[in-house]
Amino acid sequence: MKNRSYAPIAALIALGLAGTLSGCSANKPANLASQAPDLSGVWLGKAVQSLSMSDPMAQKPGEEGDIPYTAWGLAKLKGERPATGPHQTFENTTDPALRYADPDGYPRASIHPMRFKIVQTPDYVYQLWEYNKSWRQIALNKPHSQVPDISWFGESVGHWEGDALVVDSVGFKDASWLDPIGHPHTEDLHMVERIRRTDPNTLVFHFTFDDPKAYSKPWDGELTFKLKPDGVMTETIYTISDELGFRQRFLHEKPGIPIRATQ
């Protein structure tokens, strides 16, 4: 990842923290959780295939009109073979989450048509996904690491601005796709989210993606989720043995290694 200054972000976070604490007694620790909007619950999103707000079902990838590709970014997208969209292929896909059972990474993890849970504490907000039992933490009112690690889910810090949790994320491993249609990113991706509970049953994540090698200017995406009051979370962990077994049964492919039986 190239060097990038996070000073403005740190200043913003400090301002947010100061604002949050300003009404509190010096002798009484602020109960930040009680002052913050409640995002907790189990949530399920729409079955979109692309983060393009003009083409959420990925019917015209690369020509959506609302994603400002660089030549590199467009070539990268066009060079992928996703398992969705107008030219989908499952057998020969280049989708890393299917071909290698790689983690979805973020924000793709939230696009899987499965649930996630938000757990909120004074210092952290956690997202826990059904799919692959993966999780992400958002550190509240803290600066980024001096040298953020490169990881599938990135490093996220956040603060409250009114009813919105504003999350700043960096350090994303470039092997993941942003969404199932294959929108690319580099390790320089800088993502800002505004997460709002717009009504008791609706949670909206608004994204701004800034990644100069892949996109000529920042662009926005949005995902909406509905509350699932039953709270049910079901395990699904996608493994290499599952994939090899599926391909043997449905495509009659001979696995290169012995596979275990299902269940």
Partner: protein, 129 residues
């Protein structure tokens, strides 16, 4: 069981709301097979739930099929659980057959002997049914 197999030409337009396993690259979405069948196996598994069944073809010969549905969490959202089907259950089932022939398919929906209807692979925009 008096089984009949009907092949319906149902032309679907647009992009189906599913991906990964069970996409149009594997199945002929222009065809729907509807038949009575006997469940031989029900696997509540990843990546997708699988149903083994025997059904008679037009000539009366029994053919074994394996159908895929969707992932367990998606099926839970649609009202399924790991005991929704058992070997020996007689069902009416609709599915998209494989693009390349053979005996695999993608579940659209099924109806159990008691009238219970269970949805299949597709996911609506709401993510639920």
């Amino acid at each position: 069981m008096k089984a009949r197999m009907l092949v319906l030409g149902l032309l679907l337009t647009g992009i189906p709301v599913f991906a990964h396993h069970g996409g149009t690259s594997l199945y002929d979405m222009s065809k729907v097979v509807t038949t009575q069948a006997t469940v031989t196996d029900f696997q509540w598994t990843n990546p997708h739930v699988e149903i083994g069944l025997d059904a008679k073809d037009a000539s009366g010969k029994v053919k074994h099929w394996i159908l895929e549905a969707n992932s367990p969490p998606v099926m839970v959202n649609k009202g399924w659980n790991r005991k929704s089907l058992s070997a020996g259950d007689v069902i009416k089932v609709s599915f998209n057959p494989s693009q390349r022939g053979g005996s695999v398919g993608r579940l659209i929906k099924l109806t159990k002997a008691d009238g219970t209807e269970l949805g299949g692979s597709s996911i609506s925009e709401s993510g639920d049914k």
